[in-house]
């Protein structure tokens, strides 16, 4: 190669730098979304969460994106399996070079994903995973917009005591989320002197009749049946409990923690059996909706022909939180993003988001501590969750009673 060739090469090399920067400025900012979109995961909830993220992406890009760049989200189906979560996180980071990850519905899967994110120093926002351990691990990359079990199960425990229940049957799903709920709830019941029995069940269980009949023979009779079940198995559980005359009845109440009692097909599957059931809503009660909540619900219904679940709005807000953090950081550098996320102070569909930075208690770290949670009790068949009476906490209650006992 002659001198002329060397000069050409050097010139090209010098030009490539600014050229790359020019191209880079137009490159989209890539985010990763993880969640169950097919069996054996909770694909119904996962699909709604993905829809909400898509809505957020389109809205953000319609307003010019972030830092003058379009947002591009890569959706990964984790199928409710930890090994798929690990593979998805690795793919997003190493192949797709995402600047941050958000999503997930299953605590056990998120626990696997966050290990990958932590190893690579990439921020990851937990959308609807409730196990305390997720933030208790203290990884700087991990942030959570959902309430954790310490916040949810505490509400349940306090409500159970206030409503005067004395003898409780607890059926929980044998997952990280279910076990975390059990571990928080039981000490509260003990502290209030409430007797309880606990039964674990696989998430794919659909026939509970034998267990329910066994519960019915217990002496003294249970006055509350607490179910901690996050997937579609709740529907036959509620049906079978009602048909067996166990709960909800005037002798035995029925609760569900986990989410399926707020999905669009809850009433189609349980009918009359769902009346008087109590469930939590990890979002703002209707009376506290702000303009963003109202707009999101309307836009979601219009685009997807289905009302959103509380999990959907968590997903929507999570993407806006990341966009806000990138904007404030002025860069997509992971460390700068994490620092910006820690300083989050933004009002979105579920209220004002901030993340704690202390470790006391351990789950506090990077947890949205003020995550709204309230308990509703259906009193009409077909009632939407945002139309049901709020019974707890009392400062948000829309009715004078703590518990509406069924008449029969």
């Amino acid at each position: 190669m002659g001198l002329a060739g060397v000069v050409v090469l050097v010139t090209l090399g010098v030009m490539l730098g600014p050229l790359q920067a020019l191209l880079g400025a137009a490159e989209p900012i890539k985010l990763g979304w993880v969640g169950p979109l097919s069996p054996p995961g909770g694909y119904a909830d996962g699909q709604l969460m993905k829809d909400a993220a898509m809505l957020a992406t389109d809205e953000i890009n319609a307003k010019g994106g972030v830092l003058g760049r379009r947002l591009e989200v890569s959706y990964q189906d984790t199928r409710g399996l930890p090994e798929e979560g690990t593979a998805a996180a690795e793919r997003l980071i190493s192949q797709e070079h995402v600047v941050a990850i958000m999503g997930e519905f299953h605590s056990s899967v998120f626990l696997a994903e966050m290990e990958v994110a932590h190893k690579n120093g990439i921020p990851i926002v937990a959308v609807d995973v409730w196990a305390n351990k997720i933030t208790a691990m203290g990884y700087p990359e991990v942030f959570r917009v959902a309430p954790c079990q310490a916040l949810i199960a505490t509400q349940w425990g306090n409500w159970i005591a206030a409503a005067g229940f004395k003898n409780v049957a607890v059926l929980y799903e044998k997952t990280d989320g279910g076990q975390s709920a059990r571990d928080v709830l039981l000490p509260i019941l003990r502290a209030h002197g409430i007797r309880y029995d606990v039964v674990g069940a696989d998430l794919n269980q659909t026939d509970f009749t034998a267990q329910i009949e066994r519960f019915k023979t217990h002496t003294p009779p249970y006055d509350l049946f607490v179910t901690i079940f996050s997937e579609a198995g709740l529907y036959p559980l509620v049906q079978q409990s009602y048909s067996a005359g166990f709960a909800p009845t005037k002798h035995t109440g029925l609760t569900n923690s986990g989410g399926p009692a707020t999905t669009p097909t809850f009433w189609k599957n349980v009918g009359e059996a769902g009346k008087y059931l109590l469930t939590e809503v990890p979002g703002l009660p209707r009376a506290k909706w702000n303009a963003i909540t109202t707009a999101f619900v309307a836009n979601f219904k219009k685009r997807f022909n289905s009302p959103p679940t509380p999990q959907a709005i968590e997903s929507y807000d999570a993407e806006y939180i990341l966009a806000d953090a990138i904007k404030r950081a002025g860069t997509t550098d992971p460390k700068a993003l994490i620092a910006a996320l820690e300083k989050t102070n933004i009002v979105l569909g579920r209220g004002r988001y901030t993340f704690a930075t202390d470790h006391t208690p351990d789950w506090h770290y990077h947890q949205f501590v003020d995550a709204p949670v309230h308990l509703i009790q259906y009193d009409t068949v077909g009632q939407p969750p945002d139309g049901a009476p709020v019974v707890w906490p009392r400062n948000l209650a829309t009715v004078s009673y703590v518990y509406n006992r069924p008449p029969r």
Binding site: S38, P39, P40, Y43, A44, G46, Q47, L171, K174, D197, V198, V199, G200, A201, D202, N204, Q205, T206, D207, F208, T209, A210, Q211, E213, R214, T217, A232, Y235, P236, Q239, Q240, S243, A244, G245, T263, P264, T265, K268, N269, V270, G271
Partner: protein, 299 residues
């Protein structure tokens, strides 16, 4: 005593559904000598077909059941023709593996297609018979009673077909020896299609009968598929009677285990494992299952 009778009744009803699914697997295995990993998904499709027959065609639940069975009968025949004919070719070297892979792939295809077409949210069809029956001290939903009774009727119908009709006896002949059946003028290809179609129809019936009890979801066939194989192996590969007996036995075992296991906090969680334990215990004593035949392979 009442408690025992109630739990045994519920166990028997579920056992009949297990038997209905497992008998389909057995028939397919007997004739085609393959393990149909998509059987649980045929059960799922049967449930959805009945649901949409009720919802969009306004069919009564019993009519929807018949329609579902007919539709899956035809679908089963189509699947056999399109995907399984290489099993009968001399050029196919590893027939067992071929059957396994094809049906496995079909299972994933059907499940994910169902997710796209039917959507991710569970659905529940109208009850066959709404309400709850109070029979003395027993409280059982009419849907369960109906599912159990019709399941028994279908099984009796199947046994009659297999033993008292020419077609059923021809099916049995093919299951014993394809070549010998061909020599006496029975067309093995026709009966291969018939076997898969009948198996699919029975799975569809189970899905349609149990849908008002369990709800419908694209992955609802995964666990019944596993349970069907426990039943088939327990009853003896290739034995229809064995599948029936084993199905009912498994349903009873699971129900009574949950009802009487000394630790009530663990009973439900261990139920499925108990079923497999029963299987292991039987196989130790009778390796071919309760009514099984030896050396059943694709010729």
């Amino acid at each position: 005593m009442d408690y025992f009778v109630l739990q045994a009744t519920n166990g028997a009803i579920i056992g009949v559904i297990y038997a209905l699914i497992a008998v389909g697997v057995t028939i397919i295995f007997s004739i085609l000598k393959i393990v149909n990993f998509a059987h649980g998904d045929l059960y799922m499709l049967g449930g959805y077909t009945a649901y949409y027959a009720i919802t969009f065609l306004g069919a009564p639940p019993l009519g929807a059941l018949a329609l579902s069975m007919a539709a899956l009968f035809l679908f089963g025949a189509l699947v056999e023709r399109l995907l399984l004919t290489p099993l009968y070719s001399e050029r196919t070297e590893r027939k067992d593996e071929y059957g396994l892979l094809v049906t496995f792939g079909l299972a994933f295809f059907l499940r994910n297609t169902a997710l796209i077409v039917f959507g991710p949210f569970p659905l529940r069809p109208r009850s066959f018979v709404p309400g709850v029956a109070h029979l003395g001290s027993l409280t059982v939903t009419w849907d369960r009673i109906f599912a159990g009774a019709l399941g028994v009727a279908l099984i009796i119908g199947l046994l009659y077909f297999m033993h008292r009709t020419l077609w059923g006896q021809a099916l049995d002949a093919v299951s014993q020896s394809r070549e010998s059946a061909a020599i006496v003028g029975i067309n093995p290809r026709l009966f291969n299609s018939l076997a898969f179609a009948v198996g699919a129809a029975l799975a569809a019936a189970a899905g349609a009968l149990i849908a008002p009890v369990y709800s419908l979801a694209p992955d609802m066939g995964v666990l019944p598929n596993i349970q069907a194989y426990v039943v088939v192996i327990l009853g003896g590969m290739g034995s229809v009677v064995g599948s029936i007996v084993a199905g009912i036995l498994l349903g009873e075992a699971e129900g009574l285990f949950t009802a009487f296991f000394p630790d009530p906090t663990r009973a439900l969680a261990y139920t499925n494992a108990f079923g497999v334990l029963v299987l292991m215990a039987v196989l130790l004593v009778r390796p071919t299952g309760l009514f099984g035949r030896r050396h059943v392979r694709m010729e």
